[in-house]
């Protein structure tokens, strides 16, 4: 692949239509982007944003329509063709090979370094250095991908795309898994880059759209329903256009719980994958009918905490009292049967079985229950009826309940997990980043559901990085830092500033 010198002055998408079995993912979409413009592409989960971008990259073949670059029609058969025009994409699900290093991952696309009998890794290294210096994006070329946090992987993806010479960037929900700090950094960087690059930016967070983009296009059910200049519209306008109604995120203002403890963590010690103590003497109490928000920068033990409670990680010492019974080091089945609900962080690997149908994923945890089985046979009628109900209630966009869960859009996969966990009527719910990747309407709905569960007496541990989500929903906010609870405070006292200070590890916040 040559590093292109030809600039993209204009890119037009004309009447693109793409169908999947039973789904019209893109329906006659036309858009255009000029040089130096940032187009924000927004829309509900399953609206067809990712599909459209995959068509643009040559990964999918459109059933109808064409793409014009500088007025000339192009026909991309593989991403190589798109790269040749300097188009690069950071995918919604990261495209990095976990057991290879950052260097190798970038070398995979950097064809100048492919000498017949030798991979010229030094050349790749130099290229990474150059890009890192130019854009202030530091990455460790020798780290393995599996050692990196999500934020670091995101940076690797960006560096990779830039190393391959991209001057037209497509970013598919680049911020959905980043910490607030990382998000701010990325937006600032993209702003600086937008002078020399064109960018298509997909996001569900309208603040970012407002900050970054010059134009905005809204997709719904595969169609462009609105296009305009970003400055002419407020974010609530855009939200209303997107969802069809005004979005009001609910608040938790019911009186605090009085129903006694549900989950008590006592002096927990748990090791991380790399062997150090990820939870170090952690204690936390959560009552029935109470939401405790766990705030903290990711990587401070949140993941290990959720896994330890659910029997997925060994507890070295300490107790997990669930409704009075110690469930530390119980098997996941025992924890589930005790009444625990779990919305895991990794939706594709831990939350669903991608090749199973949507309805099978709904009943994964209840195949033995009386409701869905009798005498070792599944009651298919009951399963179908329930699944159809859940699909409608949670507004999961799919042609039917038989499609493979893995074929759904990112946000809709998340909805499948949420639907299962919430509808199982657990006694307690551990929700890890529950609204990651959800559109605003869906996030609003999930927040309402969580509050309703709380009012029904379910205790909830809400792990999130979005402080607004935490303060809106929680009765109490616990701040985690380096595997310990820094402080627990009532949500009314949890100001952004105070939480920020606590999350940074400053212990005695009163004195500042």
């Amino acid at each position: 692949m040559e590093l292109t010198t030809k600039a993209i002055d204009s890119l037009r998408i004309e009447h693109i239509t793409k169908r999947f079995p039973g789904v019209l993912a893109c329906d006659d979409i036309s858009l255009d982007i000029g040089k130096g413009e940032v187009l924000a592409l927004v829309g509900e989960n399953g609206a067809g944003k990712t599909t459209l971008m995959n068509v643009l990259m040559g990964l999918y073949h459109p059933d109808e329509g064409r793409i014009l670059i500088n007025g000339e029609e192009v026909n991309f058969r593989s991403p190589n063709d798109a790269f040749a025009y300097g188009i690069g994409m950071v995918h919604q699900q990261y495209m990095l090979v976990p057991n290879m290093t950052v260097l190798e991952n970038i070398a995979l696309g950097f064809k100048q370094a492919w000498k017949p009998w030798k991979l010229d890794l030094n050349m790749v290294r130099d290229r990474i250095d150059a890009v890192a210096r130019q854009y202030g994006l530091a990455v460790d070329p020798d780290a393995f991908i599996w050692q990196l946090s999500v934020g670091e992987q995101q940076r690797v993806e960006l560096v990779k795309t830039l190393c391959l010479g991209a001057r037209f960037l497509i970013l598919d929900e680049p911020t959905s898994a980043l910490t607030p700090q990382e998000t701010d950094d990325l937006i600032a960087l993209l702003k600086r880059m937008s002078g020399e690059l064109s960018i298509i930016f997909i996001s569900h967070k309208l603040q970012e759209v407002k900050d970054l983009s010059s134009k905005v296009a809204i997709l719904r059910h595969g169609r462009v329903v609105f296009q305009g200049n970003t400055i002419d519209h407020s974010s609530s306008d855009i939200a209303a256009l997107m969802t069809g109604h005004e979005v009001v995120l609910p608040h938790n203002d019911a009186p605090a719980c009085t129903m006694g403890p549900m989950l008590q963590l006592r002096n927990l010690k748990v090791r991380s994958d790399r062997g150090f103590l990820a939870l170090d003497d952690l204690s936390l109490y959560i009552c029935k009918g109470e939401i405790v928000g766990l705030a903290g920068v990711s990587g401070n033990g949140q993941r290990e905490l959720a896994e330890a409670i659910n029997g997925l990680r060994k507890v070295e010492s300490g107790q997990i009292l669930f409704d009075g019974k110690d469930i530390a080091n119980c098997s996941p089945v025992q924890v589930i049967q005790a009444g625990m609900g779990y919305i895991p962080e990794e939706r594709n690997t831990e939350g669903i079985v991608p090749s199973f149908s949507m309805k099978e994923n709904f009943i994964l945890k209840d195949t033995d229950s009386e409701k869905y089985s009798s005498h070792s046979f599944l009651k298919n009628k009951v399963v179908d009826v329930e699944a159809e109900q859940l699909r409608q209630q949670f507004d999961i966009r799919s042609p039917n309940i038989e499609v493979a869960a893995g074929s759904l859009s990112g946000g809709n996969i998340q909805k499948v997990i949420l639907a299962r966990e919430i509808s199982r009527s657990p006694k307690f719910l551990i929700a890890v980043y529950p609204t990651r990747g959800l559109d605003m309407g869906a996030a609003e709905f999930i927040h309402k559901q969580l509050l309703q569960k709380r009012n029904e007496g379910v205790g909830i541990l809400l792990i999130s990085e979005e402080l607004e989500e935490i303060t809106n929903l929680s009765d109490q906010v616990a701040v985690i830092f380096k595997g310990k609870i820094q402080k627990v405070l009532p949500s009314s006292e949890a100001s952004r500033r105070r939480l920020g200070i606590l999350m940074a590890g400053v212990k005695d916040d009163e004195e500042i």
């Binding site: 991403p79 790269f83 495209m95 090979v97 190798e104 696309g109 030798k118 991608p354 493979a404 893995g406």
Partner: protein, 314 residues
């Protein structure tokens, strides 16, 4: 002492067929294809390898050269069988385990049938003889152990660093590892997943064919229906055993072959002990070591056995 030297110098050549075949299987699996048909490809290689010197090679001026032509033919046909396997499992996305069993039966059956048609009964060939390395082979003990072997033995052990270099230091090796672990990522960066898989299958097939021909030309110096004797399956196991790494695979092949040499030697001692148990020993050893070896998910090709389809998201 001589007992141990005997076992070692017997075990090293025993390991060669396993080593070559499992290095080939390693490339297959690294690219994401599980080839259970290795046994069949080896059988074809074993037959074709000896066919050349047995037919056109007999009475020729330089009979030696036909042995090497046999090795070449065996690898070439092996590569073709690999590509054929690719057509079935890569292009048509057939389940790899089943297709592999089919390939095994096809290879073993065809080789046996052709053998009866062209050769008929048990016939030995002169084959390729030991080539002591001048000077080095005279060193006491070490000379017998390492420098007094068939030329293909040296070649096979040279394949280990070569395979390592190809896998970890060349662009092709990088592509093979990528398509076997995260084909979607490889595709998204412009690598033709199926093409790389076909290439890896051709390499794997060629090595399987060569391994078979080694048996018929260098080790046993004849062909019979049972000549492969499960070595193709052991090769598949050794790839897991060696965590898809050439050096560890070599260690596994040596361990198995030494166990085999040991059991033969013990049988030779004439101790009154049911020999069937001794014959079992190497196989049992592989199972035990596999069961207890550390399972690592971090190195292996995690897309092993899964066909790739760009438009099917899972």
């Amino acid at each position: 002492m001589t007992f141990i030297v005997n076992i070692l110098s017997l075990g090293i050549p025993f390991s060669v067929a396993l080593l070559i075949a499992s290095l080939g299987e390693m490339f297959n699996q690294r690219s994401g294809i599980f080839n259970l048909g290795c046994e069949g490809m080896m059988a074809m290689g074993a037959f074709l390898g000896m066919l050349v010197p047995y037919t056109i090679g007999q009475g020729a001026d330089v009979p030696g050269i036909y042995n090497y032509l046999g090795l070449l033919l065996a690898s070439g046909v092996g590569a073709l069988l690999g590509l054929f396997f690719g057509l079935v499992v890569v292009t048509f996305r057939a389940p790899q385990g089943i297709a592999g069993i089919g390939m095994q039966m096809f290879g073993v059956g065809t080789a046996g049938t052709l053998f009866r048609h062209f050769i008929g009964g048990t016939q030995s060939v002169p084959g390729i003889n030991t080539a002591p390395i001048p000077g080095l082979s005279k060193i006491p003990i070490l000379g017998t152990l390492f420098f007094n072997h068939n030329p293909m033995v040296y070649v096979a052990f040279l394949f280990v660093p070569i395979a390592w270099y190809i896998l970890f230091k060349t662009p092709w090796g990088l592509r093979v590892r990528a398509v076997g672990t995260h084909p979607r990522a490889a595709d998204s960066i412009g690598i033709q997943v199926n093409k790389v898989r076909f290439q890896a299958l051709a390499v794997g097939g060629a090595l399987a064919g060569l391994a078979g021909a080694y048996l018929s030309l260098c080790q046993v110096k004849m062909f019979s229906d049972e000549i492969i004797a499960g070595r193709g399956f052991i090769a598949v196991a050794l790839v897991y055993f060696g965590h898809w790494h050439p050096v560890k695979i070599m260690a596994g092949a040596l361990l198995f072959a030494l166990a085999q040499a040991l059991q033969l030697a013990i049988q030779g001692l004439g101790i009154d002990f049911p020999y069937e148990f001794l014959v079992m020993l190497p196989y049992a050893l592989v199972i035990v070591v596999l069961a207890f070896s550390r399972k690592s998910q971090k190195t292996g090709p995690s897309a092993l056995g899964k066909p790739f389809n760009r438009e099917i998201r899972t």
